[in-house]
Subunit: 473 residues, 2 copies
């Protein structure tokens, strides 16, 4: 996942002549930056996570193996590790198959195979599958207008991912516009009496890849099975349906199993003056089930771990404790972030800021911050130190910096995330192509440096950033 | 398939001031060009072929449906159609599955799924599959040097497709360098005592797509099963194997069934003066089994058919007959081209030239010609007329212009093909992503125009091009 913000608009750059840096802090940040840029540890750990654990959907054996692998790496480098128990969903894909069994101009005996992936959390079809005519719509509005035609049909939401927007630096907006059909499409179709819902895959770069991702059912309507067609297959079905009736056969046999005991991985790099006060630096450990989860979120969780390792290797203690957290089950409802925020309100009151990296492994461009307006200028010395990395963009956002941080953000903890280049992020996101080879090792070094600098800066400030107003429940 | 030539080197451009054009021929070519650029018929036929027939591997029901569909379209436009019988191979993919079952650092209970496609013509593994340790090599030379280590192993040829070369206009060379491992890898590995052979997929753009394609066995060594891993999976296995022993389980269950009766589709647009003399304009009707075969070779075969349709719609008869041929089974040994060349040597002696389009649907850039050196300058008036389309490159090549033409080329018939932009051709070629949406309708119009102009020019010349020397068998 990535949270949604507009990357290259409404940004402000820290003016070099204005911020009042503490020279000793600036020197520490320079040291961290230079050491980060020659770090080799984090990329090696990322390769271990991707190549040796691979896909690690919450509830799976591999998710737990990832917990063990990161805990072992942290212990080997001499840190105490806490495994915080988290109950997580356990959904498994199972068989998935789709055919176009009838269409205008079909030669006798010919059916067509479709490329699709069941969406995370979907219910199954009967074991023999279901058949039904397709209704193609291009928006929720169109579905409402054609509601009478949807009864008993398979609804296909043929909504393209806006690649131009993504390539122009607004990938978050492009994602937001399309993902709503992944999340809400099934219940919208069920409300109109459909038997199943298909979406056009949410992602750029058309190479016949259906991208998966979580969906959610409205408890007030029937649960119907739902899957993503590759962009090519969605366009194909739409072209056929424009000529006449198209009938599909779908067999989707996912299983929702009982919740599983899993863990957040936590390790502290203690503060030198106020060790009870905490700045979190984090990413999520789980991934989708189709690939190595290299960019989502191997890169983020390992860079966060690498940031703590970097400070440790420099022997550099900030005023406060810097806590690495590897969150479990971000992809399936953020049970890890939720459990953490609920665990101890007294401890949470001593969390002065939280950082998550969950936007992939593009080149870091700056910092996005959900802090109060008064807090924003206080970040300027950090931005000055980030300038030599080309990461000087500071952007104020209105929501939590990372899905796992949303719960503590709502309780008043300022949250931040690195801004990275996400122009091609959604080409791979949640797809079988999210693999280690997509990542430039240099970008991992950059992200380790940026995260370590962010964490150190926030943890070392004499005064904490102002807390956010507590959100209404 | 595309034949191999170097696209942007060793080319000559027709000088505008030198060629002695016949004004009436030039006027006819201008008319064809302008009409081609507003043609809508061909793209509509291409959509029919891709969307309604889809994959059409030789021997399949869909290949025969493609024969029927094209024949019907030609008959509807008033042409006589001949279906020339061709016996074609019938190979079917069947189940294919691969796992990494052991590797250094493997967590207990974890195995890894690999993305692969069985190569066309491969024999099967036993039904329960085979397991074996991997030997990764990067060339035939390395395999020879490590031959003692290959016995009983699964050999992986991890040879990357050179994308830089392809993007620099030398996709043919990039393909040639990699495809030799697809074609000859299995027998090379078998010679060293391996139990199976894997290649790194032959194609650009890494989106976890294994591209398929034909392979060939050396009759002197054991036939072992063979498949292509996606580039990502090949890199992954190689990284693991660099750390220690890696064991795979492969289950590949293709079937080679008895040869099937199929057809070349032939339709003539009669010559006004010497109707017994023939210029062929052609493409191949069959495709691989993973996708619609839009660029390979839906675009070519339909543009060739569109060229004849265009001349017919203009009522423009050249001096000689222009014959459309849709070849069957190019992908599996070119049985169609072979049968045609063998069918009647007297008729073949009256073939003055043959054109095939089989390099996809990129923008046409010019003409590649396997004609005698004395014949080359005679093409200059054609190149002048192609200049307004931006297709003025004339390139002399040393081999047949199209795999299906190789047999008649060897018997002396000059062969030509349009040069098109193939920089991204191998991103899709033989992969699941070779679908209609990859094609700009405008490029089909351009290709229809170019093919119709080439065919008309060659068929209308008072004297035929000099014949090629007959190749030694």
């Amino acid at each position: 996942m990535i949270s949604v913000f507009i990357l290259f608009s409404a940004i402000s750059v820290a003016p070099a002549d204005e911020a009042a840096s503490d020279p000793s802090v600036a020197a520490a940040l320079d040291r961290i930056r230079d050491a980060g840029m020659s770090d080799a540890w984090a990329y090696r750990r990322l390769a271990d996570l991707c190549d040796k654990i691979g896909p690690r959907i919450s509830g799976s054996r591999q998710a737990e193996a990832a917990v063990e692998q990161l805990a072992a790496a942290l212990r080997t480098s001499g840190l105490n590790v806490t495994l915080q128990p988290v109950k997580v969903p356990h959904w498994g894909r199972g068989e998935e198959q789709a055919e176009i069994i009838d269409y205008p101009g079909r030669p006798t005996g010919v059916t067509q195979h479709l490329q699709l992936n069941t969406l995370g959390g979907s219910v199954a079809t009967p074991v023999q599958g279901i058949s039904g005519q397709v209704l193609v719509v291009h928006s929720f509005d169109e579905l409402r207008a054609r509601e009478a035609q949807a009864r008993g049909k398979i609804v296909l939401f043929d909504v393209p991912f806006n690649e131009d927007l993504a390539l122009n630096g607004q990938s978050g907006t492009a994602y937001q516009q399309a993902v709503i059909y992944r999340v809400q499409g099934a219940s919208a179709a069920a409300r109109a009496g459909a038997t199943a819902a298909l979406i056009r895959t949410v992602g750029g770069a058309n190479y016949r890849l259906p991208h998966t991702g979580v969906m959610a059912y409205d408890p007030k309507v029937a649960k119907i099975p739902t899957a993503a067609l590759s962009a090519e297959d969605a366009m194909w079905v739409s072209r056929l349906a424009a000529e006449g009736p198209v009938t599909l056969h779908l067999k989707l046999l996912p299983q929702t199993l009982p919740d599983v005991d899993s863990h957040n991985v936590i390790a502290d790099w203690p503060g030198r003056e106020r060790p009870e006060e905490i700045v979190i630096v984090s990413g999520h450990l789980d991934s989708w089930d189709l690939a190595q989860g290299a960019i989502d979120d191997g890169a983020g969780v390992i860079s966060a771990m690498g940031a703590v390792h970097l400070l440790q290797s420099l022997g550099l203690h900030a005023r406060r404790t810097i806590r690495f957290v590897g969150w479990m089950s971000e992809e399936n409802g953020s049970a890890g972030g939720q459990s953490y925020a609920k665990s101890d309100s007294n401890v949470l009151a001593r969390h002065v800021a939280a950082i998550e990296s969950d936007s992939g492994a593009g080149r870091p461009l700056g910092v996005s911050a959900h802090v109060t307006p008064e807090g924003m200028p206080e970040l300027k010395p950090l931005m000055q130190s980030l300038t030599p990395l080309g990461a000087s963009v500071l952007s104020h956002v209105d929501e939590a910096g990372g899905a796992d941080l949303a719960f503590m953000d709502a309780l008043g903890v300022p949250t931040l995330e690195p801004i990275v280049d996400t122009r091609t992020y959604f080409d791979y996101h949640h797809s079988p192509a999210d693999t280690l080879d997509k990542i430039e090792p240099d970008n991992i070094r950059r992200q380790v440096a940026v995260l370590a600098m962010m964490a150190y800066f926030l943890a070392d400030r004499p005064a904490a950033l102002p807390r956010l107003p507590v959100a209404k429940p």
